[in-house]
Protein backbone atom coordinates (compact mmCIF):
# COMPACT_ATOMS: atom_id res chain seq x y z
CA UNK A 1 0.00 0.00 0.00
CA UNK A 2 2.63 2.58 0.94
CA UNK A 3 4.23 2.00 -2.48
CA UNK A 4 0.99 2.92 -4.21
CA UNK A 5 0.55 5.92 -1.93
CA UNK A 6 4.05 7.07 -2.71
CA UNK A 7 3.50 6.67 -6.44
CA UNK A 8 0.21 8.51 -6.33
CA UNK A 9 1.80 11.28 -4.33
CA UNK A 10 4.63 11.51 -6.83
CA UNK A 11 2.32 11.83 -9.81
CA UNK A 12 0.11 14.34 -7.99
CA UNK A 13 3.18 16.45 -7.41
CA UNK A 14 4.23 16.14 -11.05
CA UNK A 15 0.73 17.10 -12.16
CA UNK A 16 0.80 20.12 -9.87
CA UNK A 17 4.16 21.31 -11.19
CA UNK A 18 3.12 20.85 -14.82
CA UNK A 19 -0.13 22.70 -14.18
CA UNK A 20 1.68 25.48 -12.36
CA UNK A 21 4.19 26.05 -15.13
CA UNK A 22 2.01 25.45 -18.16
CA UNK A 23 -1.19 27.13 -17.01
CA UNK A 24 -0.15 30.75 -17.59
CA UNK A 25 0.87 29.95 -21.15
CA UNK A 26 -2.29 27.92 -21.67
CA UNK A 27 -4.41 30.77 -20.39
CA UNK A 28 -2.59 33.21 -22.67
CA UNK A 29 -3.37 30.98 -25.64
CA UNK A 30 -6.97 30.70 -24.52
CA UNK A 31 -7.27 34.47 -24.26
CA UNK A 32 -5.59 35.07 -27.58
CA UNK A 33 -8.26 33.00 -29.30
CA UNK A 34 -11.13 35.02 -27.87
CA UNK A 35 -12.67 38.07 -29.34
CA UNK A 36 -14.74 41.04 -28.28
CA UNK A 37 -16.39 40.71 -24.89
CA UNK A 38 -15.45 37.05 -24.65
CA UNK A 39 -12.23 38.38 -23.19
CA UNK A 40 -13.90 39.19 -19.93
CA UNK A 41 -15.47 35.81 -19.33
CA UNK A 42 -13.39 33.45 -17.28
CA UNK A 43 -13.36 29.92 -18.67
CA UNK A 44 -10.79 27.18 -18.86
CA UNK A 45 -11.73 25.48 -22.11
CA UNK A 46 -11.94 27.17 -25.50
CA UNK A 47 -15.52 28.20 -26.30
CA UNK A 48 -14.79 29.69 -29.71
CA UNK A 49 -11.67 29.85 -31.83
CA UNK A 50 -11.17 33.30 -33.30
CA UNK A 51 -7.97 33.99 -35.18
CA UNK A 52 -8.62 37.70 -35.35
CA UNK A 53 -6.00 38.65 -32.79
CA UNK A 54 -3.34 36.68 -34.65
CA UNK A 55 -4.36 38.20 -37.95
CA UNK A 56 -4.08 41.62 -36.38
CA UNK A 57 -0.68 41.11 -34.86
CA UNK A 58 0.80 39.38 -37.89
CA UNK A 59 -0.34 42.08 -40.24
CA UNK A 60 1.15 44.78 -38.04
CA UNK A 61 4.33 45.81 -39.88
CA UNK A 62 5.89 47.34 -36.77
CA UNK A 63 5.40 44.19 -34.75
CA UNK A 64 6.92 42.08 -37.52
CA UNK A 65 9.81 44.47 -37.59
CA UNK A 66 10.19 44.10 -33.83
CA UNK A 67 10.15 40.34 -34.20
CA UNK A 68 12.91 40.53 -36.80
CA UNK A 69 14.90 42.81 -34.48
CA UNK A 70 14.64 40.27 -31.69
CA UNK A 71 15.75 37.43 -33.94
CA UNK A 72 18.68 39.51 -35.17
CA UNK A 73 19.79 40.64 -31.71
CA UNK A 74 19.46 37.23 -30.08
CA UNK A 75 21.20 35.41 -32.94
CA UNK A 76 24.11 37.82 -33.13
CA UNK A 77 24.49 37.70 -29.34
CA UNK A 78 24.62 33.91 -29.48
CA UNK A 79 27.17 33.81 -32.29
CA UNK A 80 29.49 36.41 -30.76
CA UNK A 81 29.18 35.02 -27.24
CA UNK A 82 29.95 31.51 -28.36
CA UNK A 83 32.90 32.60 -30.47
CA UNK A 84 34.40 34.67 -27.65
CA UNK A 85 33.57 32.03 -25.07
CA UNK A 86 35.15 29.16 -27.02
CA UNK A 87 38.39 31.07 -27.53
CA UNK A 88 38.41 32.33 -23.93
CA UNK A 89 37.60 28.87 -22.60
CA UNK A 90 40.49 27.41 -24.56
CA UNK A 91 42.91 29.85 -22.96
CA UNK A 92 41.38 29.53 -19.51
CA UNK A 93 41.33 25.75 -19.48
CA UNK A 94 44.46 24.83 -21.40
CA UNK A 95 47.07 27.54 -21.00
CA UNK A 96 48.64 28.07 -17.61
CA UNK A 97 49.19 31.76 -16.98
CA UNK A 98 49.45 33.94 -13.93
CA UNK A 99 46.16 35.17 -12.57
CA UNK A 100 44.02 32.63 -14.38
CA UNK A 101 41.83 31.87 -11.39
CA UNK A 102 41.47 35.55 -10.59
CA UNK A 103 40.37 36.22 -14.15
CA UNK A 104 37.80 33.45 -14.01
CA UNK A 105 36.40 34.79 -10.75
CA UNK A 106 36.26 38.30 -12.20
CA UNK A 107 34.31 37.01 -15.18
CA UNK A 108 31.88 35.39 -12.79
CA UNK A 109 31.70 38.49 -10.61
CA UNK A 110 30.49 40.55 -13.56
CA UNK A 111 27.30 38.54 -13.61
CA UNK A 112 26.56 39.37 -9.98
CA UNK A 113 25.67 43.01 -10.56
CA UNK A 114 21.93 43.60 -10.88
CA UNK A 115 21.03 45.03 -14.26
CA UNK A 116 19.60 48.14 -12.67
CA UNK A 117 22.93 48.85 -10.97
CA UNK A 118 24.85 49.03 -14.23
CA UNK A 119 22.07 50.67 -16.21
CA UNK A 120 23.10 54.30 -15.77
CA UNK A 121 26.79 53.69 -16.38
CA UNK A 122 26.09 51.48 -19.36
CA UNK A 123 23.82 54.15 -20.79
CA UNK A 124 26.71 56.61 -20.76
CA UNK A 125 29.01 54.08 -22.39
CA UNK A 126 26.51 53.34 -25.12
CA UNK A 127 25.89 57.02 -25.79
CA UNK A 128 29.65 57.58 -25.82
CA UNK A 129 30.08 54.81 -28.37
CA UNK A 130 27.32 56.31 -30.47
CA UNK A 131 25.23 53.16 -30.24
CA UNK A 132 22.19 54.75 -28.65
CA UNK A 133 18.93 53.80 -30.29
CA UNK A 134 20.51 51.09 -32.43
CA UNK A 135 20.26 47.33 -32.12
CA UNK A 136 24.02 47.19 -31.59
CA UNK A 137 23.55 48.80 -28.20
CA UNK A 138 21.49 45.79 -27.17
CA UNK A 139 23.95 43.30 -28.64
CA UNK A 140 26.71 45.06 -26.74
CA UNK A 141 24.76 45.21 -23.50
CA UNK A 142 23.56 41.59 -23.61
CA UNK A 143 27.14 40.32 -23.72
CA UNK A 144 27.39 41.47 -20.13
CA UNK A 145 25.18 38.69 -18.94
CA UNK A 146 25.67 36.07 -21.67
CA UNK A 147 29.47 36.00 -21.64
CA UNK A 148 30.04 35.14 -17.95
CA UNK A 149 28.01 31.98 -18.05
CA UNK A 150 29.03 30.89 -21.55
CA UNK A 151 32.68 31.36 -20.63
CA UNK A 152 32.23 29.50 -17.37
CA UNK A 153 30.27 26.59 -18.72
CA UNK A 154 32.57 26.13 -21.70
CA UNK A 155 35.72 26.47 -19.59
CA UNK A 156 34.50 23.79 -17.22
CA UNK A 157 33.48 21.61 -20.13
CA UNK A 158 36.77 22.04 -21.94
CA UNK A 159 38.75 21.38 -18.81
CA UNK A 160 37.06 18.00 -18.61
CA UNK A 161 37.97 17.10 -22.18
CA UNK A 162 41.02 14.87 -21.84
CA UNK A 163 44.13 16.74 -22.89
CA UNK A 164 45.48 13.55 -24.44
CA UNK A 165 42.90 13.79 -27.19
CA UNK A 166 44.31 17.16 -28.15
CA UNK A 167 47.84 15.80 -27.90
CA UNK A 168 46.93 12.82 -30.05
CA UNK A 169 45.76 15.27 -32.69
CA UNK A 170 49.01 17.22 -32.41
CA UNK A 171 50.97 14.00 -32.87
CA UNK A 172 48.76 13.22 -35.86
CA UNK A 173 49.97 16.48 -37.33
CA UNK A 174 46.85 18.60 -36.88
CA UNK A 175 47.18 22.38 -36.88
CA UNK A 176 45.53 24.37 -34.07
CA UNK A 177 42.73 25.32 -36.46
CA UNK A 178 42.15 21.69 -37.40
CA UNK A 179 42.16 20.70 -33.75
CA UNK A 180 39.49 23.25 -32.93
CA UNK A 181 37.27 22.50 -35.92
CA UNK A 182 37.73 18.75 -36.30
CA UNK A 183 38.24 17.67 -32.72
CA UNK A 184 37.07 20.27 -30.22
CA UNK A 185 33.92 21.59 -31.82
CA UNK A 186 32.39 18.17 -32.50
CA UNK A 187 33.09 17.20 -28.91
CA UNK A 188 31.78 20.47 -27.53
CA UNK A 189 28.61 20.42 -29.60
CA UNK A 190 26.34 19.52 -26.66
CA UNK A 191 27.80 22.25 -24.47
CA UNK A 192 27.64 24.78 -27.30
CA UNK A 193 24.00 23.98 -28.01
CA UNK A 194 23.04 24.22 -24.36
CA UNK A 195 24.83 27.46 -23.60
CA UNK A 196 23.84 28.94 -26.96
CA UNK A 197 20.21 28.18 -26.25
CA UNK A 198 20.37 29.75 -22.81
CA UNK A 199 22.05 32.84 -24.23
CA UNK A 200 19.40 33.07 -26.94
CA UNK A 201 16.58 32.83 -24.41
CA UNK A 202 18.18 35.42 -22.14
CA UNK A 203 18.64 37.87 -25.02
CA UNK A 204 15.20 37.15 -26.38
CA UNK A 205 13.45 37.88 -23.08
CA UNK A 206 15.50 40.87 -21.95
CA UNK A 207 13.38 43.89 -21.13
CA UNK A 208 15.14 46.57 -19.09
CA UNK A 209 18.06 47.29 -21.42
CA UNK A 210 15.79 47.02 -24.42
CA UNK A 211 13.48 49.62 -22.89
CA UNK A 212 16.31 51.98 -21.99
CA UNK A 213 18.74 51.92 -24.88
CA UNK A 214 16.22 52.07 -27.70
CA UNK A 215 13.51 54.65 -28.00
CA UNK A 216 12.34 54.19 -31.53
CA UNK A 217 9.30 52.02 -32.35
CA UNK A 218 11.07 50.48 -35.34
CA UNK A 219 14.16 49.53 -33.39
CA UNK A 220 12.42 47.88 -30.43
CA UNK A 221 12.57 44.20 -29.61
CA UNK A 222 9.42 42.23 -28.91
CA UNK A 223 9.28 42.20 -25.09
CA UNK A 224 9.18 45.99 -25.04
CA UNK A 225 6.96 46.19 -28.07
CA UNK A 226 4.39 43.94 -26.44
CA UNK A 227 4.47 45.90 -23.21
CA UNK A 228 3.86 49.10 -25.12
CA UNK A 229 1.02 47.77 -27.25
CA UNK A 230 -1.94 50.02 -26.71
CA UNK A 231 -5.51 50.14 -27.83
CA UNK A 232 -7.56 52.86 -29.41
CA UNK A 233 -7.84 54.77 -26.16
CA UNK A 234 -5.79 54.93 -22.97
CA UNK A 235 -8.56 53.13 -21.09
CA UNK A 236 -8.61 50.15 -23.42
CA UNK A 237 -5.92 47.52 -23.06
CA UNK A 238 -5.94 45.14 -26.05
CA UNK A 239 -5.57 41.92 -24.05
CA UNK A 240 -6.40 39.66 -26.95
CA UNK A 241 -3.69 41.11 -29.14
CA UNK A 242 -1.15 41.19 -26.32
CA UNK A 243 -1.79 37.53 -25.63
CA UNK A 244 -1.57 36.63 -29.31
CA UNK A 245 1.76 38.47 -29.54
CA UNK A 246 3.02 36.70 -26.43
CA UNK A 247 2.17 33.34 -27.91
CA UNK A 248 3.84 34.26 -31.18
CA UNK A 249 7.11 35.19 -29.46
CA UNK A 250 7.10 32.06 -27.32
CA UNK A 251 6.78 29.70 -30.25
CA UNK A 252 10.33 30.21 -31.62
CA UNK A 253 11.82 29.33 -28.23
CA UNK A 254 9.77 26.16 -27.97
CA UNK A 255 10.73 25.19 -31.51
CA UNK A 256 14.41 25.82 -30.81
CA UNK A 257 14.36 23.74 -27.65
CA UNK A 258 12.56 20.92 -29.42
CA UNK A 259 15.03 20.93 -32.32
CA UNK A 260 18.14 20.98 -30.21
CA UNK A 261 16.91 18.76 -27.43
CA UNK A 262 17.51 15.81 -29.74
CA UNK A 263 21.00 17.02 -30.52
CA UNK A 264 22.10 17.41 -26.96
CA UNK A 265 23.74 14.03 -26.84
CA UNK A 266 25.26 13.55 -23.48
CA UNK A 267 28.19 11.30 -22.85
CA UNK A 268 29.64 11.88 -26.28
CA UNK A 269 33.12 11.95 -24.83
CA UNK A 270 32.69 8.60 -23.11
CA UNK A 271 34.89 5.98 -24.72
CA UNK A 272 37.66 8.16 -26.02
CA UNK A 273 39.70 7.64 -22.93
CA UNK A 274 39.76 4.73 -20.52
CA UNK A 275 36.68 3.46 -18.83
Amino acid sequence: MPAILRQTGFYLLVAFIVLFSVFPFYYAMLTSLKSGTGLFQVNYLPREIAWGNYAAILSDATFLRNLANSVFVASVVVVISLFLAVTAAYALSRIAFRGRTLLLLTVLAVSMFPQIAVLAGLFEVIRGLGLYNTLYSLIFAYMIFTLPFTVWVLTTFMRDLPIEIEEAAIVDGASPFTIVTKVFLPLMWPALVTTGLLAFIAAWNEFLFALTFVSNNDTRTVPVAIALLSGASAQEIPWGIIMAASVVVTVPLIVLVLIFQRKIISGLTAGGVKG
Binding site: I165, V171, V183
Partner: protein, 371 residues
Amino acid sequence: MANLKLTKIRKSYGAVNVLHGIDLDIRSGEFVVFVGPSGCGKSTLLRVIAGLEDITAGTLEIDGRVVNDATPKERGIAMVFQSYALYPHMTVYDNMAFGLKLEKNNSKAEIDKRVREAAKILQIEPYLDRLPKALSGGQRQRVAIGRAITRDPKVFLFDEPLSNLDAALRVQTRIEIARLHEKMHGTTMIYVTHDQVEAMTLADRIVVLNKGNVEQVGSPMDLYNRPDNLFVARFLGSPSMNILPARLDAAPEGVAVTPEGGARLSLALPYRGAAGGNGYLGVRPEDLVPVQPGQPELFRGQVTLTESLGEVTLVYLDTGRGAEPVVAKLPGEVRLERGSTMGLAARPEALHVFDADGRAVRGARAEAVAA
Protein backbone atom coordinates in the same frame (compact mmCIF):
# COMPACT_ATOMS: atom_id res chain seq x y z
CA MET B 1 64.59 3.64 -39.32
CA ALA B 2 65.84 6.25 -36.94
CA ASN B 3 68.38 6.55 -34.21
CA LEU B 4 68.03 9.01 -31.37
CA LYS B 5 70.65 10.85 -29.42
CA LEU B 6 69.80 12.65 -26.21
CA THR B 7 72.45 14.96 -24.83
CA LYS B 8 72.12 16.47 -21.36
CA ILE B 9 68.37 16.77 -21.66
CA ARG B 10 66.85 18.79 -18.85
CA LYS B 11 63.23 19.58 -18.21
CA SER B 12 61.81 21.84 -15.55
CA TYR B 13 58.35 23.17 -14.85
CA GLY B 14 59.08 26.55 -13.34
CA ALA B 15 61.20 25.85 -10.31
CA VAL B 16 60.53 22.10 -10.39
CA ASN B 17 63.30 20.14 -12.08
CA VAL B 18 61.94 16.90 -13.43
CA LEU B 19 64.77 15.67 -15.67
CA HIS B 20 68.33 16.38 -14.58
CA GLY B 21 70.44 15.93 -17.68
CA ILE B 22 69.65 12.71 -19.53
CA ASP B 23 72.27 11.27 -21.90
CA LEU B 24 71.10 8.42 -24.05
CA ASP B 25 71.80 6.81 -27.41
CA ILE B 26 69.04 4.80 -29.00
CA ARG B 27 69.92 2.75 -32.03
CA SER B 28 67.81 2.38 -35.12
CA GLY B 29 65.21 -0.37 -34.82
CA GLU B 30 65.84 -0.89 -31.15
CA PHE B 31 63.12 -1.60 -28.58
CA VAL B 32 64.01 0.52 -25.55
CA VAL B 33 62.01 0.47 -22.33
CA PHE B 34 62.06 3.30 -19.80
CA VAL B 35 61.28 1.84 -16.43
CA GLY B 36 61.18 3.37 -12.98
CA PRO B 37 58.88 4.08 -10.06
CA SER B 38 55.87 6.35 -10.46
CA GLY B 39 56.80 10.02 -10.70
CA CYS B 40 60.41 9.46 -11.75
CA GLY B 41 59.95 11.34 -15.02
CA LYS B 42 59.42 8.52 -17.54
CA SER B 43 56.40 10.10 -19.16
CA THR B 44 58.05 13.49 -19.16
CA LEU B 45 61.08 12.08 -20.98
CA LEU B 46 58.85 10.35 -23.51
CA ARG B 47 56.85 13.52 -24.08
CA VAL B 48 60.06 15.49 -24.52
CA ILE B 49 61.10 13.01 -27.21
CA ALA B 50 57.63 13.21 -28.76
CA GLY B 51 57.73 16.98 -28.93
CA LEU B 52 54.76 17.50 -26.64
CA GLU B 53 56.97 19.23 -24.06
CA ASP B 54 59.61 21.87 -24.66
CA ILE B 55 63.17 20.91 -23.85
CA THR B 56 64.52 23.17 -21.10
CA ALA B 57 68.16 22.47 -21.94
CA GLY B 58 70.16 19.93 -23.92
CA THR B 59 69.70 18.60 -27.42
CA LEU B 60 67.64 15.88 -28.98
CA GLU B 61 68.79 14.49 -32.31
CA ILE B 62 66.91 12.14 -34.58
CA ASP B 63 69.03 10.67 -37.36
CA GLY B 64 71.70 13.25 -36.64
CA ARG B 65 69.36 16.20 -37.01
CA VAL B 66 68.66 18.41 -33.99
CA VAL B 67 64.88 18.38 -33.53
CA ASN B 68 64.48 20.41 -30.33
CA ASP B 69 62.09 22.79 -32.06
CA ALA B 70 60.45 20.37 -34.48
CA THR B 71 56.80 19.42 -34.16
CA PRO B 72 55.86 15.82 -33.36
CA LYS B 73 54.94 15.29 -36.99
CA GLU B 74 58.23 16.68 -38.27
CA ARG B 75 60.03 14.30 -35.94
CA GLY B 76 58.19 11.40 -37.56
CA ILE B 77 56.94 9.98 -34.29
CA ALA B 78 53.69 8.28 -33.37
CA MET B 79 52.50 7.82 -29.84
CA VAL B 80 50.16 5.49 -28.00
CA PHE B 81 48.77 7.15 -24.90
CA GLN B 82 48.05 5.49 -21.60
CA SER B 83 44.41 6.57 -21.79
CA TYR B 84 44.17 5.58 -25.50
CA ALA B 85 43.06 9.14 -26.37
CA LEU B 86 40.88 8.05 -29.28
CA TYR B 87 38.72 10.69 -30.91
CA PRO B 88 35.36 9.85 -29.33
CA HIS B 89 33.27 11.25 -32.17
CA MET B 90 35.02 9.36 -34.95
CA THR B 91 34.64 5.74 -35.99
CA VAL B 92 37.57 3.40 -35.62
CA TYR B 93 38.27 3.84 -39.33
CA ASP B 94 38.29 7.63 -39.08
CA ASN B 95 40.42 7.51 -35.96
CA MET B 96 43.04 5.57 -37.85
CA ALA B 97 42.73 7.64 -41.01
CA PHE B 98 42.76 11.06 -39.31
CA GLY B 99 46.51 11.62 -39.46
CA LEU B 100 46.74 10.34 -43.04
CA LYS B 101 43.93 12.59 -44.22
CA LEU B 102 45.80 15.59 -42.85
CA GLU B 103 48.74 14.84 -45.12
CA LYS B 104 47.99 16.51 -48.40
CA ASN B 105 49.44 14.02 -50.86
CA ASN B 106 47.59 10.88 -49.75
CA SER B 107 44.99 9.55 -52.16
CA LYS B 108 41.82 8.06 -50.75
CA ALA B 109 42.77 4.62 -52.01
CA GLU B 110 46.18 4.86 -50.37
CA ILE B 111 44.64 5.86 -47.04
CA ASP B 112 42.13 3.06 -47.27
CA LYS B 113 44.84 0.54 -48.01
CA ARG B 114 46.97 1.59 -45.06
CA VAL B 115 44.08 1.68 -42.60
CA ARG B 116 42.95 -1.78 -43.67
CA GLU B 117 46.46 -3.15 -43.46
CA ALA B 118 46.87 -1.87 -39.91
CA ALA B 119 43.41 -3.13 -38.99
CA LYS B 120 44.35 -6.56 -40.30
CA ILE B 121 47.57 -6.71 -38.31
CA LEU B 122 45.70 -5.80 -35.13
CA GLN B 123 42.59 -7.87 -35.92
CA ILE B 124 40.22 -4.95 -35.56
CA GLU B 125 38.70 -5.22 -39.04
CA PRO B 126 35.22 -6.12 -37.73
CA TYR B 127 35.04 -2.90 -35.69
CA LEU B 128 36.08 -0.34 -38.27
CA ASP B 129 32.65 1.29 -38.35
CA ARG B 130 32.17 1.45 -34.61
CA LEU B 131 32.66 4.39 -32.29
CA PRO B 132 35.26 3.98 -29.53
CA LYS B 133 32.60 3.85 -26.86
CA ALA B 134 31.28 0.62 -28.36
CA LEU B 135 34.64 -1.12 -27.87
CA SER B 136 36.17 -2.96 -24.92
CA GLY B 137 39.34 -1.67 -23.30
CA GLY B 138 41.53 -4.12 -25.17
CA GLN B 139 39.97 -3.23 -28.51
CA ARG B 140 40.41 0.48 -27.84
CA GLN B 141 44.06 -0.11 -27.10
CA ARG B 142 44.45 -1.90 -30.44
CA VAL B 143 42.81 0.99 -32.24
CA ALA B 144 45.22 3.37 -30.52
CA ILE B 145 48.13 1.22 -31.69
CA GLY B 146 46.58 0.95 -35.14
CA ARG B 147 46.27 4.71 -35.39
CA ALA B 148 49.99 4.95 -34.73
CA ILE B 149 50.88 2.19 -37.22
CA THR B 150 49.04 3.73 -40.19
CA ARG B 151 51.29 6.75 -39.97
CA ASP B 152 54.29 4.50 -40.56
CA PRO B 153 56.38 6.39 -38.01
CA LYS B 154 60.15 6.40 -37.68
CA VAL B 155 59.86 6.28 -33.90
CA PHE B 156 57.02 4.59 -32.08
CA LEU B 157 56.33 5.77 -28.52
CA PHE B 158 54.22 3.97 -25.92
CA ASP B 159 53.27 5.45 -22.56
CA GLU B 160 52.19 2.65 -20.22
CA PRO B 161 49.90 1.20 -22.89
CA LEU B 162 48.84 -1.81 -20.86
CA SER B 163 48.15 -0.27 -17.49
CA ASN B 164 44.40 0.06 -18.05
CA LEU B 165 43.95 -3.56 -19.10
CA ASP B 166 43.16 -6.53 -16.87
CA ALA B 167 45.89 -9.05 -16.10
CA ALA B 168 45.07 -11.65 -18.76
CA LEU B 169 44.66 -9.08 -21.50
CA ARG B 170 47.85 -7.39 -20.42
CA VAL B 171 49.90 -10.54 -21.01
CA GLN B 172 48.24 -11.13 -24.37
CA THR B 173 48.72 -7.55 -25.56
CA ARG B 174 52.31 -7.59 -24.35
CA ILE B 175 53.01 -10.58 -26.57
CA GLU B 176 51.30 -8.81 -29.47
CA ILE B 177 53.43 -5.73 -29.01
CA ALA B 178 56.54 -7.91 -29.06
CA ARG B 179 55.27 -9.50 -32.27
CA LEU B 180 54.52 -6.08 -33.72
CA HIS B 181 58.08 -5.02 -33.09
CA GLU B 182 59.32 -8.05 -35.01
CA LYS B 183 57.02 -7.23 -37.90
CA MET B 184 58.01 -3.58 -37.95
CA HIS B 185 61.72 -4.22 -37.62
CA GLY B 186 63.48 -1.03 -38.48
CA THR B 187 61.02 1.03 -36.49
CA THR B 188 62.56 2.32 -33.29
CA MET B 189 60.26 1.77 -30.33
CA ILE B 190 60.38 3.47 -26.96
CA TYR B 191 58.13 2.06 -24.30
CA VAL B 192 57.41 3.48 -20.86
CA THR B 193 56.28 1.29 -18.00
CA HIS B 194 56.58 0.97 -14.25
CA ASP B 195 56.15 -2.78 -14.59
CA GLN B 196 59.45 -4.63 -14.50
CA VAL B 197 57.98 -7.74 -16.11
CA GLU B 198 56.98 -5.72 -19.19
CA ALA B 199 60.43 -4.16 -19.19
CA MET B 200 62.25 -7.50 -18.92
CA THR B 201 60.16 -9.27 -21.55
CA LEU B 202 59.90 -6.56 -24.20
CA ALA B 203 63.16 -4.66 -24.12
CA ASP B 204 66.28 -4.94 -26.21
CA ARG B 205 67.64 -2.46 -23.73
CA ILE B 206 66.21 -1.13 -20.49
CA VAL B 207 66.77 2.38 -19.20
CA VAL B 208 66.19 2.52 -15.45
CA LEU B 209 65.12 5.99 -14.34
CA ASN B 210 64.98 7.34 -10.82
CA LYS B 211 64.11 10.88 -9.78
CA GLY B 212 64.89 12.29 -13.19
CA ASN B 213 68.25 10.56 -13.59
CA VAL B 214 69.33 7.52 -15.56
CA GLU B 215 70.46 4.87 -13.09
CA GLN B 216 71.59 2.27 -15.60
CA VAL B 217 71.18 1.30 -19.23
CA GLY B 218 71.63 -2.24 -20.48
CA SER B 219 70.06 -5.42 -21.73
CA PRO B 220 67.50 -6.95 -19.37
CA MET B 221 69.78 -9.79 -18.26
CA ASP B 222 72.66 -7.40 -17.88
CA LEU B 223 70.74 -5.26 -15.46
CA TYR B 224 69.40 -8.27 -13.67
CA ASN B 225 72.71 -10.01 -13.20
CA ARG B 226 74.94 -7.00 -12.81
CA PRO B 227 73.08 -4.04 -11.34
CA ASP B 228 75.25 -0.95 -11.11
CA ASN B 229 73.74 0.22 -7.87
CA LEU B 230 71.33 -0.54 -5.07
CA PHE B 231 68.42 1.16 -6.79
CA VAL B 232 68.60 -1.03 -9.88
CA ALA B 233 69.27 -4.09 -7.73
CA ARG B 234 66.14 -3.47 -5.69
CA PHE B 235 63.97 -2.37 -8.59
CA LEU B 236 64.36 -5.41 -10.85
CA GLY B 237 63.34 -8.86 -9.67
CA SER B 238 60.39 -10.08 -7.68
CA PRO B 239 60.58 -10.57 -4.78
CA SER B 240 63.32 -8.00 -4.78
CA MET B 241 66.92 -8.64 -3.86
CA ASN B 242 67.79 -9.17 -0.17
CA ILE B 243 70.04 -6.33 0.89
CA LEU B 244 71.89 -6.34 4.21
CA PRO B 245 74.20 -3.72 5.67
CA ALA B 246 77.74 -5.09 5.72
CA ARG B 247 81.29 -4.15 6.67
CA LEU B 248 83.80 -3.98 3.83
CA ASP B 249 87.53 -4.50 4.26
CA ALA B 250 90.34 -4.82 1.83
CA ALA B 251 91.56 -8.42 1.78
CA PRO B 252 94.35 -10.21 -0.09
CA GLU B 253 91.81 -11.88 -2.40
CA GLY B 254 89.96 -8.63 -3.01
CA VAL B 255 87.29 -7.65 -0.54
CA ALA B 256 86.14 -9.09 2.74
CA VAL B 257 82.43 -8.66 3.37
CA THR B 258 80.96 -9.06 6.83
CA PRO B 259 77.18 -8.81 6.81
CA GLU B 260 75.78 -7.58 10.11
CA GLY B 261 76.11 -10.35 12.65
CA GLY B 262 77.15 -12.83 9.95
CA ALA B 263 80.30 -14.62 8.92
CA ARG B 264 83.13 -12.91 7.07
CA LEU B 265 83.30 -13.72 3.35
CA SER B 266 86.16 -13.01 1.00
CA LEU B 267 85.26 -12.19 -2.57
CA ALA B 268 87.60 -11.56 -5.49
CA LEU B 269 86.31 -8.06 -6.17
CA PRO B 270 88.44 -4.93 -6.47
CA TYR B 271 87.81 -2.79 -3.41
CA ARG B 272 89.39 0.62 -3.08
CA GLY B 273 87.42 1.92 -0.11
CA ALA B 274 88.65 2.36 3.47
CA ALA B 275 89.06 -0.58 5.81
CA GLY B 276 85.96 -1.11 7.89
CA GLY B 277 83.91 0.87 5.37
CA ASN B 278 80.15 0.60 5.35
CA GLY B 279 78.50 -1.18 2.49
CA TYR B 280 75.83 -3.65 1.55
CA LEU B 281 75.63 -7.29 0.62
CA GLY B 282 72.89 -8.28 -1.80
CA VAL B 283 71.61 -11.66 -2.88
CA ARG B 284 68.56 -12.53 -4.95
CA PRO B 285 65.93 -14.80 -3.36
CA GLU B 286 66.31 -17.40 -6.13
CA ASP B 287 70.07 -17.59 -5.56
CA LEU B 288 69.61 -18.76 -1.97
CA VAL B 289 69.64 -22.49 -1.20
CA PRO B 290 69.46 -24.45 2.05
CA VAL B 291 73.02 -24.74 3.33
CA GLN B 292 74.86 -28.04 2.70
CA PRO B 293 77.48 -29.41 5.10
CA GLY B 294 80.89 -27.86 4.39
CA GLN B 295 79.39 -24.88 2.59
CA PRO B 296 79.85 -21.37 4.04
CA GLU B 297 76.57 -20.27 5.56
CA LEU B 298 75.22 -16.85 4.60
CA PHE B 299 72.17 -16.50 6.82
CA ARG B 300 70.64 -18.44 9.67
CA GLY B 301 67.26 -17.60 11.07
CA GLN B 302 63.76 -18.66 12.00
CA VAL B 303 61.13 -19.30 9.38
CA THR B 304 58.34 -16.76 9.89
CA LEU B 305 56.26 -17.48 6.82
CA THR B 306 56.18 -19.71 3.77
CA GLU B 307 54.20 -19.02 0.61
CA SER B 308 53.68 -21.84 -1.88
CA LEU B 309 53.23 -20.55 -5.41
CA GLY B 310 53.24 -23.98 -7.02
CA GLU B 311 56.48 -24.06 -8.94
CA VAL B 312 58.34 -22.26 -6.14
CA THR B 313 58.02 -21.65 -2.41
CA LEU B 314 58.89 -18.33 -0.84
CA VAL B 315 60.48 -18.69 2.59
CA TYR B 316 60.68 -15.65 4.88
CA LEU B 317 63.48 -15.87 7.39
CA ASP B 318 63.88 -13.70 10.48
CA THR B 319 67.63 -13.43 10.95
CA GLY B 320 67.28 -11.51 14.19
CA ARG B 321 68.86 -8.33 12.78
CA GLY B 322 67.32 -5.67 10.67
CA ALA B 323 63.62 -5.18 10.18
CA GLU B 324 63.41 -6.82 6.76
CA PRO B 325 63.08 -10.58 6.63
CA VAL B 326 65.38 -12.44 4.26
CA VAL B 327 63.40 -14.01 1.42
CA ALA B 328 64.45 -17.20 -0.31
CA LYS B 329 62.79 -18.62 -3.41
CA LEU B 330 63.16 -22.38 -3.26
CA PRO B 331 62.11 -24.64 -6.14
CA GLY B 332 59.07 -26.88 -5.79
CA GLU B 333 57.03 -27.31 -2.67
CA VAL B 334 59.03 -26.99 0.53
CA ARG B 335 57.46 -27.97 3.84
CA LEU B 336 58.87 -26.05 6.77
CA GLU B 337 57.55 -25.57 10.30
CA ARG B 338 56.98 -22.00 11.24
CA GLY B 339 59.61 -21.14 13.84
CA SER B 340 62.05 -23.80 12.70
CA THR B 341 65.64 -22.74 12.17
CA MET B 342 67.19 -22.77 8.75
CA GLY B 343 70.54 -21.90 7.21
CA LEU B 344 70.93 -20.46 3.72
CA ALA B 345 73.89 -20.31 1.37
CA ALA B 346 74.55 -18.89 -2.08
CA ARG B 347 77.10 -19.32 -4.86
CA PRO B 348 79.74 -16.61 -4.56
CA GLU B 349 79.04 -15.43 -8.14
CA ALA B 350 75.50 -14.67 -7.04
CA LEU B 351 76.57 -12.23 -4.36
CA HIS B 352 76.38 -8.50 -5.01
CA VAL B 353 78.49 -6.06 -3.02
CA PHE B 354 77.72 -2.35 -2.82
CA ASP B 355 79.72 0.42 -1.22
CA ALA B 356 78.37 3.01 1.20
CA ASP B 357 77.04 5.12 -1.71
CA GLY B 358 75.14 2.15 -3.09
CA ARG B 359 77.48 1.65 -6.06
CA ALA B 360 78.33 -1.89 -7.05
CA VAL B 361 81.80 -3.15 -6.14
CA ARG B 362 82.55 -5.23 -9.16
CA GLY B 363 85.37 -7.00 -10.93
CA ALA B 364 86.30 -10.38 -12.30
CA ARG B 365 84.52 -13.50 -11.16
CA ALA B 366 84.11 -13.57 -7.43
CA GLU B 367 85.36 -16.44 -5.32
CA ALA B 368 84.31 -16.97 -1.77
CA VAL B 369 86.48 -18.27 0.96
CA ALA B 370 85.12 -18.81 4.42
CA ALA B 371 87.22 -16.73 6.78
